[in-house]
Amino acid sequence: MKGIWIIAKRELVSFFDSLVAYVLMVVFLGMSGFFTWIYGADIFLRGQVTLEPFFGVAYWTLFFFIPLLTMRMLAEENRTGTIELLQTKSVTDWQIIFGKSFACLLLILIALVFTLPYYYTLTTLGKVDHGAIWCGYLGLILMSCVYISIGMFASSLTNNQIVAVLVSLLIGVLFLIIFDVLSSGSSGTIAEVLHYLSMNTHFDSISRGVIDTKDVLYFLLLSFAGLVFAENVLAKRNIVG
């Protein structure tokens, strides 16, 4: 546990030291604020007191931002050789993976905390469905977990950050769009499986305020799978032979 925190703290400090954190937050808050309040199908056009426009925007911005956060995590360590330093210290591969993922998640949480004023603004406009909003946030957090774990896996595969970003976007887009499109074009069991795999299905119901264990389980399983793959890549060196 202590090892996880030490690694997470270092990563978080380095996010802020390298300005990545500030740039990310400015762009994230700028974009989501712009599309939520000013442009397109914004809140005022809806005529409803709901944060759904924000969740719709964040659904996309996080898809692009998280791979940019995770790309450095292991790819950079592989490139500079510091991974050897880390792996010969008294921490397990799991602690390394969890620590780094946790740092990304914390940064996303900090960014999301800065969107709470949107929530406050809404409460001054009319009667708000509080449950739906908290569910929406929960949905965003669960989705971030999935993207972080995909990003960690992609980053573990390579020593090139650009390859890491592209691989995680590629895997991400499968869950974001491709499975959805394929499922509508097919029928029977295949369509059902693809429909289940599509992230849209699960995110939609959560962000509308319906928490189903099936949906939560989907996100948790996917996150866990990504981390297991990443850990396996790190642990490959321990296979005798």
Binding site: E84, L85, S90, V240
Partner: protein, 309 residues
């Protein structure tokens, strides 16, 4: 804490990087790992430090198998990897505290340990800089400091003095020697004077196999076998001098040195010295003995002999 390696083998595809090597290092011993590039030094070190699993064979730190007890083993080892990887965006102090935390140094002792290492490794003037701003020599010191931060019983240093200037090299060697009194140290290098200056024992490996094992002196003796003298004898006729020398009981071989009529190399028979006999021969014949130098086999020669082909 002993380091014990038994039948270690590591293959990369068809290539055998380490081929069935076994050795043991005891506490208070500094073992110099010597070998040409690609001989398998680094691979062996990576296996001992839990970075890599062997293809076959076992390595133990104390009684702990490095594959089965990774957590405990890693706590006992201080490791300076080859090329000294560092987080260049971190500050020196911050970095040392990070490593100390990972190695389980308790919060209460953290400050003291970091200050001690900064002092020991001569980082005082640079301690507030970012690692990326340091020169190569100072980075090397940071690498050494992080390896020793948790006061490990075993130190494994892969080419610890690369990039240091001559003064620093002397300091670091002294530091390693001091530490080596109570710890078990393995250091790899291809700088021969370094091994002679710091190590109690040398292990020469070539193509993944151990080709020599012993203290610098024993290695030299082994390689030399017989006494070899270089002598210069004047006031005599070359042929009669050679004949005279060859007639001595203890002399096995006499060779005139090319280009000189008065200098010879004399190889004695095994376990015999011919120095006295040569002197007495010269006195008897009224020859002037102007030079007699025992030729020592240099470590370089041993190294070349053992590792060529």
């Amino acid at each position: 804490m002993n380091i014990r390696v038994e039948g270690l083998t590591k293959t990369y595809g068809p290539q055998k990087a380490v081929d069935n090597i076994s050795f043991e290092v005891k506490p208070g011993e500094i073992l110099g790992f010597l070998g040409p590039n690609g001989a398998g030094k680094t691979t062996t070190m990576k296996i001992i430090t839990c970075y890599m699993a062997p293809t076959a064979g076992k390595a133990y730190i104390g009684n702990l198998n490095v594959l089965e007890h990774q957590e405990e083993v890693k706590k006992k080892i201080g490791y300076l990897p080859e090329n000294n990887p560092l987080y260049t965006e971190m500050h020196v102090i911050e970095y040392l505290e990070f490593i100390a935390g990972l190695q389980g140094v308790p919060q209460s002792k953290m400050r003291d340990r970091v200050i001690e290492m900064v002092r020991k490794c001569g980082l005082d003037a640079e301690k507030h800089k970012k690692i990326g701003e340091l020169s190569k020599g100072y980075r090397q010191r940071v690498g050494l400091a992080q390896a020793m931060i948790h006061n490990p019983e075993v130190l494994i240093l892969d080419e610890p003095t690369t990039g240091l200037d001559p003064n620093q090299i002397v300091e670091i060697r002294k530091l390693i020697k001091d530490l080596g009194r109570e710890k078990t140290v393995i250091l790899s290098t291809h700088i021969l004077p370094e091994v002679e200056a710091t190590c109690d024992r040398i292990l020469i490996i070539s193509n993944g196999k151990i080709v020599a094992d012993g203290s610098p002196d024993t290695l030299r003796k082994q390689a030399q076998g017989q006494e070899v003298l270089k002598v210069t004898i004047e006031n005599g006729e070359a042929n009669s001098i050679i004949k005279g020398l060859q007639s001595l009981d203890s002399v096995a071989l006499v060779d005139p040195i090319l280009g000189k009529t008065t200098s010879f190399t004399i190889q004695s028979r095994p376990n015999a010295s011919s120095r006295r006999a040569v002197f007495e021969l010269c006195v008897k014949n009224h020859w002037a003995l102007t030079e007699m130098t025992p030729l020592e086999t240099k470590l370089e020669d041993i190294f070349r002999n053992l590792t060529m082909n």
